[in-house]
């Protein structure tokens, strides 16, 4: 299979700080690709560039061959490129179920005229969306809190809800931004299981930023290591783990060598 996301020669600077330097990565269709790197390597920035949160200074980004450079995030959403947030986002004053029901785009009920003139169509669609949301909430294991206000959910449950949101539409690519951060071990196993199921059963491609190496090891193949704004090395988790460059980037140079 070919690559579904291709980032070519992308650069981004904030003021004088060059966060991303001529960075090129490719995400294979159907893969769960990990994106790791020490703090400040530019992982989140690269993510935000792909997700259209801010414009690139240079370079191109394509989704399934189509140029999506600098498209706004709502357009990318319609093209099937979804993201989750490092700090889980939710509509705090709506129930978990309602949060999911907001997601499908172009709902007939979101049109002023339909609300008045085609109430039947609106109602039918609403029933369908509700059913879908119930299935999703069951899948991510939040059935017991479906009527709880999303603002009251625990951090881990909010992360699950983030994942659930991507399931409300047929996503092609999902960008997961530190989905494991702040999630307890038990819930994390659910999360990993769900991501794998989505990948295998529904053909989602994932690009994952993660600090939890165990999770990366369990989930991702291949893994891309980012350092100082560009790709340092790419390969399987085993290759990465034994790569001296990576070890140096994470832990600094070997103290024995440096001391000698």
């Amino acid at each position: 299979m070919g690559s579904i996301i291709e980032v070519q020669g992308v650069s981004k600077a904030f003021g004088g700080l060059h966060v991303i330097n001529d960075c090129s990565i490719a995400v294979e269709e159907g893969s769960i690709t990990g994106l790791i790197g020490p703090n400040g390597a530019g992982k989140s920035t690269l993510f935000n560039l792909i997700a259209g949160a801010f414009p690139v200074d240079q370079g191109t980004i394509t989704l399934a061959g189509e140029n999506i450079t600098n498209l706004p995030s709502n357009v990318l959403f319609e093209k099937g490129l979804l993201r989750t947030f490092q700090i889980a986002q939710e509509f705090t004053h709506m129930s978990a179920l309602e949060n999911l029901m907001m997601v499908p785009p172009n709902q007939p009920g979101e049109n002023i005229f339909n609300t008045w003139f085609q109430p039947g169509k609106v109602r039918d669609f609403e029933t369908g969306v509700r059913q879908k949301a119930m299935e999703v909430i069951d899948f991510i294991g939040l059935d017991h809190v479906k009527n709880e206000l999303a603002g009251n959910l625990s951090g881990g449950q909010k992360k699950l809800l983030e994942l659930g949101r991507t399931m409300m539409v047929d996503a092609k690519v999902v960008l997961l931004d530190e989905i494991a951060a702040g999630v307890n071990r038990t819930l994390l196993q659910d999360l990993v299981g769900n991501i794998k199921r989505l990948n295998q059963e529904m053909g989602y491609t994932f690009l994952v930023i993660e600090h939890d190496m165990d999770m990366i090891a369990e989930l991702c193949d291949p893994v891309i290591v980012l350092a100082q704004g560009s790709v340092m090395v790419e390969g399987t988790i085993e290759e990465i783990r034994n790569n001296p460059q990576v070890i140096e980037a994470y832990f600094g140079s070997d103290p024995n060598e440096a001391g000698a």
Binding site: E78, L82, Q89, F91, T92, M94, M102, N111, V122, M168
Partner: protein, 333 residues
């Protein structure tokens, strides 16, 4: 007893009347803030504009009201509300949309809305002159004097027809808005967008439609508030501009972004204002008869009427110092 009725007429009824007007204005301001994140200063002049559209319609069809038994202006109000809603959407498309698309800072939007205010004021004066107009053309303001079933009560409870219509309309509008925001998909999308605009953008909510609907609601409510205020008093080009500050005070008192808060805030500001300028001498006269040594002045009010405008200012400052998020926590619809 008479003293109490006097108090009720001049504080409770009048306070509730002006409070309802503030509330209607504040709900519009707060909705616009919740969705678009800027203080819309042109809101008051949208109220005046709406009232002037009603005046034009009333002048064109003066006989409609008497045929139904309501003031003509009130019958024409729904038509003008639709027109004002379209104008509000038009103003957004012409001025605010371009700024929004260029991601300007909120303060730039505020300045743009001040510009729109000046433009609307100029246009209204250009077409309607600077004089005072009455919305009653072929009909007269009905005043209800309600006899109270008490022996000692020689005074009547006084309420006018436009005041009653105002209370009824406000109740209707609030219930309709409540149902819209909580039951309809579009209303929920509005709440979602005010709750978390970034998430709304990346989760399939059509933000353009939501913005449009916000202007429709704000415009329609502004027109209704302007018309009902003009029916209660008279129509002047600066009528609503004068109440811009109390409206913003009401919105902030209630917690900016919360329409229920704006409703409560409107009444808090309206009632405080009328209570502050209330002349206590009349009420205290019986006391003076009992204690002749108590020499009451002719006017005895907390604040002289001329300084009425300081009251909302004071409430605004007090809230901003002691409860900056408003009486009810804001930023949610």
């Amino acid at each position: 007893m008479n003293e109490f009725i006097f108090f009720f007429n001049s504080v409770v009824i009048n306070g509730a009347v002006i409070g309802s007007i503030y509330a209607m204005g504040a709900i519009g301001v707060t909705l616009v803030f919740g969705i678009l994140r800027f203080a819309h200063f042109a809101h008051a002049d949208m109220m005046t504009l709406g009232a002037f559209l009603v005046l034009i319609l009333t002048a064109l069809f003066p006989a409609v009201g008497p045929a139904i038994g309501l003031p003509t202006a009130f019958v024409m109000m729904p038509v003008a509300m639709v027109a004002t809603a379209f104008i509000a959407v038009g103003i957004d498309k012409l001025f605010y949309k371009k700024l929004r698309e260029n991601n300007v800072k909120p303060v730039v939007m505020v300045m743009a809305s001040v510009g729109v205010t000046l433009m609307l004021q100029g246009l209204i004066r250009f077409f309607a002159g600077t004089g005072t107009q009455s919305l009653y053309i072929d009909d007269r303001k009905a005043i209800f004097r309600i006899d109270l079933p008490f022996e000692s009560a020689s005074r009547n409870l006084v309420v006018t027809e436009p005041q009653l219509l105002l209370f009824l309309f406000l109740a209707f509008a609030v219930i309709a808005l409540h149902l819209f925001l909580n039951k309809s998909r579009l209303g929920k999308a509005m709440r979602a967008m005010s709750d978390n605009p970034d998430l709304a953008k990346v989760s399939g909510i059509n933000t353009n439609t939501v913005v449009g609907v916000t202007w429709i609601i704000a415009g329609a409510l502004a027109c209704a508030a302007g018309t009902l205020l003009s029916l209660d008093v008279t129509l002047k080009p600066d009528l609503s501009f004068m109440i811009l500050l109390p409206i913003f005070a009401a919105a902030i008192v209630g917690g900016v972004g919360s329409p229920y808060g704006a409703l409560a805030g409107g009444f808090v500001v309206g009632l405080t204002e009328t209570l502050a300028v209330f002349n206590w001498t009349f009420v205290l006269r019986p006391l003076e008869r009992a204690i002749p040594a108590l020499d009451l002045p002719n006017t005895l009010a907390f604040v002289p009427t001329e300084y009425k405008i300081t009251i909302p200012f004071f409430i605004l400052l007090a809230i901003l110092i002691w409860r900056p998020t408003g009486l009810f926590k804001g930023k949610i619809i």
